[in-house]
């Protein structure tokens, strides 16, 4: 196993971030979400596994860590984009069906997005940007 000789600060931070996001995904899909949907569970399981693998790789600073981290980021970004779109379209659907003045309000809409977007879209983009910058430096 080949180790990266550079200082480990950012890797540790991102490893912790990956673990936090993996736990959030597991809690959201397997605990909080009341409906069991196989496709969603498989996607969540794969993304969480990639994030945990990436965290281990980043902590151990092994050669394959960037590749797994990139895969985790891309998977998280893809799933996050779909989930964000489904969430916002679902709330729009509920509002449109209920009619003017009824349905989930703009505040609830914004709150739900604020809870999802940082984990599902912001974080994977940050990971990919960091990987690119790291690759340039390396």
């Amino acid at each position: 196993m080949t180790r990266d000789p550079r200082p480990p600060g950012m890797e540790r931070l991102l490893a912790a971030g990956n673990l936090v996001v993996a736990v959030v995904i597991k809690l959201a899909v397997f605990r909080a979400w009341p409906v069991r949907v196989l496709a969603l569970e498989i996607a969540a399981g794969v993304v969480a596994a990639l994030l945990v693998g990436s965290a281990v790789g980043l902590l151990l600073r092994v050669r394959w860590a960037p590749a797994v981290t990139r895969a985790a980021a891309v998977a998280l970004l893809a799933v996050g984009s779909v989930v964000t779109a489904a969430l916002t379209l679902g709330m729009t659907f509920a509002r449109a069906v209920a009619g003017a003045g009824a349905g989930p309000g703009a505040l609830l809409h914004g709150l739900a997005l604020a809870l999802v977007v940082p984990y599902a879209i912001g974080y994977p983009i940050a990971l990919l940007v960091w990987l690119k910058a790291r690759g340039r430096v390396g």
Binding site: A85, R95, A96
Partner: protein
């Protein structure tokens, strides 16, 4: 990709999503009648809860019976017991057909109808059709049931209709054109414009403000609601004596006045007022009592006490639910305390005697309620409440000792930490089960109420200890009592406070603050406006707009107890107005939900269902559990009104009449 590149991609994603949102909202919007077949009038003739004739017209034909013309529809409309309803389609919209579940979610339960077109033929399921068939769900409609019905009308299979048909939803304005009363179940059906809340949430909040005392039961009748100014026929109202097929012939007669005369007319006028004033709530409690009495058989057991409530068939003794029985008995006994009516008292005592004879057994050295080896603490607590309420009456001496014995059993079930074992194993002769917050709160309430009779300090102390445990916040997190037990917890805390009157055991401010905090949060977090005006003030169990009657009643009960505690602690009525207004809105919804409600013609037996409450605002089958919950909420509020007028104590004024 660089950071700037990711930023551009993210911006593009947000713009695309925003456009998709706007497009979806515009595509699904429920607009006015369009050229897609929306518009026109649907004339339906209803009899015995079934639609017996229908005609769909392209345009309005006036608001009179003349709209029926002289054909078969007019002939059907002239038959006694028939109601003719016109539903004018006032708007239409698209639905999603990507899947059946999504299709079902594309409708607002209680408001939208469904139009299907196949091979040039059109079939409609109006809101009345969907309501009568029980096809509304908490969210949307039952897609399979609706497709089956439409397919039946179009002469095809549901699968073919789903594959090849085209669907739209529509909203209607309903108007009752004529109602030819039959001999007994004559309940006037108001038109949309007359319904309470038709113009939005118009429920007055003055009852929740400083005018609580003015609405005391027995006080001057409030002015008629402007929204219901139309004259009400003097025919027997929903509180008419039992005459429906589901009523046991030998059951005690309902306490409502006869079908004619000044008393019946006054009741009919009062029933048209949907404001939760004291007199109106007292009438609703009387109607709920009459419903329960019709469900009470000669053997003292309630028909369908398991809670299905729809069949009207007597429950099998082996599976009889004594916990529900005790709750219904307690409601009747408490209602007797307010109404002071002999038939209610007789019915309550008959139910109490049946419970004492059939389920009152020994658990070690104490009495308990059980049908086998396992005695549930919950059943004992409900029975203690029932026996306690029965024993409060002057003629209820025979129930006082059972109440004392059950209180002793409950104290024996209490653990050192203040919680209660949830059961007692009679074979082992020892407490069993785990601890549950709902059982703790119910046992605390039962002990506090029992103290009214027993005057045993141990009962009140045990209740206070249980409440102290429930109100505690382990680790600084939320209280041990979850939101769901608020009605029991807050009622128990209110009871302990009022019984203790400042003397030991001091409950402290924790329980009161918790109840007031949650009541204020419930008032602030009320989601609205609802898409269906009639649903205003309701409490939902899940997503969707459909108010749940039991949940609404539970919230009203909990907030009423919080109000009582706040007022007792010296808070001004005005400062509690948000909570009071929330309670009155919930009570107004309960009044609107009480059967036969605004559409008695959709029910097979409106007289038999009269006074009962359905599970949700879009069901027509009465349920005993929902009726008990709603009745208890109304009684709680009546007690609050009475205590405001008579500060000497909640029970003193009422029992003195006997």
């Amino acid at each position: 990709m660089s950071a700037a590149g990711w930023g551009r991609a993210l911006a593009a994603y947000v713009v695309a999503l925003g456009l998709a949102d706007l497009g979806l909202a515009a595509w699904l919007r429920l607009g006015g009648p369009s050229g897609a077949g929306d518009g026109g009038d649907v004339l339906s003739v209803w009899r015995d809860g079934r639609r017996v004739a229908r005609r769909v017209e392209a345009s309005a034909a006036g608001g009179s019976l003349g709209a029926l013309g002289s054909g078969a529809l007019a002939a059907e409309g002239a038959v006694p017991g028939t109601t003719v309803v016109r539903e004018r389609i006032v708007g239409g919209g698209r639905v999603l057909t990507l899947g059946r579940r999504l299709f079902g979610f594309s409708f607002v339960a209680g408001r939208d109808g469904l139009r299907a077109a196949l091979d040039g033929a059109v079939a409609l399921l109006t809101p009345d059709d969907l309501l009568a068939a029980g096809l509304y769900r908490r969210v949307g409609i039952d897609p399979d049931g609706a497709l089956e019905r439409l397919a039946g009308e179009l002469g095809c299979t549901a699968d073919r209709l789903w594959t090849d048909g085209r669907f739209r939803r529509f909203a209607v304005a309903r108007e009752v054109l004529s109602s030819v009363h039959a001999a007994s179940p004559a309940v006037r059906a108001p038109a949309d414009g007359e319904r309470p809340g038709a113009a939005g949430d118009t429920t007055p909040t003055v009852v929740g403000d400083v005018n609580w005392v003015a609405a005391k039961p027995g006080g001057p009748a409030p002015p008629a609601a402007p929204a219901r100014s139309a004259p009400v026929p003097a025919a027997p109202g929903p509180s008419a004596p039992a005459s429906g097929p589901s009523a046991p012939a030998s059951g005690p007669s309902a306490p409502a006045p006869a079908g004619s005369g000044p008393a019946a007319e006054a009741d009919a006028r009062l029933a048209a007022d949907m404001r939760p004033t004291g007199p109106r709530l007292a009438l609703a409690v009387r109607q709920a009592s009459a419903f329960l009495m019709r469900r009470l058989g000669e053997d003292g057991r309630f028909a369908a006490a398991e809670g299905d409530g729809g069949s009207g068939e007597p429950a099998a003794p082996a599976g009889y639910d004594w916990t529900s029985h005790a709750a219904a008995t307690a409601l009747l006994a408490e209602a007797d305390g307010v109404l002071d009516e002999l038939p209610v008292r007789i019915a309550a005592q008959r139910a109490g005697l049946a419970m004492r004879a059939a389920a009152f057994v020994r658990c070690g050295g104490e009495a308990c309620i059980a049908g086998g080896d396992r005695a549930e603490t919950r059943a004992a607590a409900e029975a203690a409440l029932a026996f306690g309420a029965l024993g409060a009456a002057r003629v209820g001496a025979s129930f006082r000792e059972p109440a004392r014995e059950l209180a002793a059993f409950l104290r024996g079930q209490q653990r050192a930490d203040g919680g209660f074992w949830s059961a007692y194993d009679r074979a082992r002769g020892a407490p069993d089960g785990d601890e549950r917050a709902d059982v703790d709160a119910l046992a605390a309430l039962a002990l506090a109420r029992a103290h009214r009779l027993t005057r045993a300090p141990a009962d009140l102390a045990a209740a206070a200890r249980a409440l102290g445990r429930l109100a505690r916040r382990p680790g600084g997190l939320g209280a041990r009592a979850p939101l769901a037990v608020d009605p029991l917890f807050c009622a128990a805390a209110d009871e302990v406070e009022s019984q203790a009157s400042g003397a030991p055991p001091a409950l402290g401010a924790t329980a009161r603050e918790l109840c007031l905090e949650r009541a204020a949060a419930a008032a602030a977090l009320e989601i609205g406006p609802a898409p269906v005006a009639e649903f205003a003030g309701g409490e939902r169990c899940t997503v969707g707009w459909m108010p749940d009657v039991a949940a609404t009643a539970a919230r009203a009960s909990a907030s009423t107890a919080a109000l009582a505690m706040g007022l007792r602690a010296g808070q001004s009525a005005r400062s509690l107005t948000p909570v009071g207004a929330r309670v009155t809105r919930a009570l107004a919804l309960l009044l609107r939900a009480q059967l036969p409600g605004a559409r008695p013609y959709l029910q097979r037996d409106p007289a038999g269902a009269a006074g009962g409450f359905p599970a949700t605002a879009a069901r027509t089958e009465p349920r005993i559990d929902a009726t008990v919950a709603a009745g208890a909420a109304m009684l709680g509020y009546l007690e609050l009104l009475e205590s405001r007028a008579q500060p000497t104590g909640p029970a003193g004024g009422r029992r003195a009449r006997k």
